[in-house]
């Protein structure tokens, strides 16, 4: 990922004495780099990633949550994908959905699960039509495949409709 620093082309060799202004510039550069995280769609260089898997739901799916804090897997956004041991993967779930609740509490979230473990969560709220993008990062140590699932649920019971075209993508970070 190539970043453009606020103060590029700073150069020093050993024993150089830096001025206060230069030290301020160094700090500004460090802060800029620090602020690049966590990962968002704005600071990812998609061209450096290999697309491993890309799938989209072919039909709308309605999910009913019956208990508080209950998360349910969206069946159209589940897949087992081949991975390379030692690789780093970025998983992106993009959902179009509607949600309704049994009472006024509208907080809910989308989880990315790999092998049943949560690797990324996006929390949101509201009952109207929404577009949500959730990110998850996985370091694969020894497996040759991983199961990726996207689940949805909230603080209180509710019903979610995930629309056609919602997608799940897995990228190999190079």
């Amino acid at each position: 990922m190539a970043l453009t620093l606020p103060y590029p082309s700073m150069n020093f060799v050993p024993l150089d004495v830096l001025t206060a202004a230069e030290q301020n510039q160094l700090v500004a550069n460090i802060e800029y780099i620090a602020n690049q995280f966590p990962i968002t769609s704005q600071n990812i260089d998609w061209t450096t990633m290999g697309l491993v898997f890309s799938g989209a739901t072919s039909q709308s799916e309605t999910i009913t949550q019956t208990a508080n804090y209950q998360y349910k897997v969206i069946s159209g956004l589940t897949s087992t994908v081949p991975v390379e041991p030692g690789g780093k993967y970025l998983i992106v779930a993009a959902l179009s959905l509607n949600s309704t609740y049994n009472n006024g509490n509208t907080d809910f979230g989308v989880n990315i699960l790999v092998g049943g473990t949560n690797k990324g969560t996006v929390l949101t709220g509201g009952t109207s039509y929404q577009s949500i993008v959730a990110f998850g990062e996985v370091d694969v140590i020894s497996s040759t495949q991983m199961t990726v699932e996207v689940s949805i649920g909230g603080r209180v019971p509710g019903t979610y409709t995930v629309y056609t075209g919602s997608s799940l993508r897995v990228f190999r970070v190079k």
Partner: protein, 121 residues
């Protein structure tokens, strides 16, 4: 207790002696003017305080696939002389030699070469 740094061995400015370090990734010669007052080491190994500005000239070079920086500190502000000397020394360096010299380079580690500001041994 502060960490011990052996300034005598690692942090000496030696005037008019060309040194090698890791690449700075700059195009062309860079110059830094340091005010009077810096401590430096004379050719006789004696420490002295500079009573005039010290100029630092540095330039990136590439040999084979290895990039590196040559730099020199001098009282002379003549850019042409410094760059000519650095270029002359760089021409004579082989990749294996450069790799060995910059293998352990960091902020505290660099190596002086046996070349003076005129590019001579």
């Amino acid at each position: 207790m502060l960490p011990y740094i052996n300034y005598n061995e690692t942090m000496d400015i030696v005037i008019d002696t060309i040194a090698i370090w890791t690449a700075n990734f700059q195009n062309g010669l860079t110059v830094r003017k340091n005010p009077a007052g810096l401590r430096y080491k004379t050719k006789d190994g004696v420490y002295a305080i500079a009573d005039k500005p010290i100029y630092r000239f540095a330039k990136d070079y590439k040999v084979g696939k290895t990039r590196y920086t040559l730099f020199v500190r001098t009282f002379d502000d003549n850019v042409g002389v410094a760059e000519k000397a650095l270029d002359k020394v760089a021409k004579g360096l082989k990749e294996d030699f450069v790799k060995e010299k910059i293998a352990n380079a960091d902020v505290y580690n660099f190596e002086y070469l046996d070349f003076n500001i005129k590019g001579e041994k």
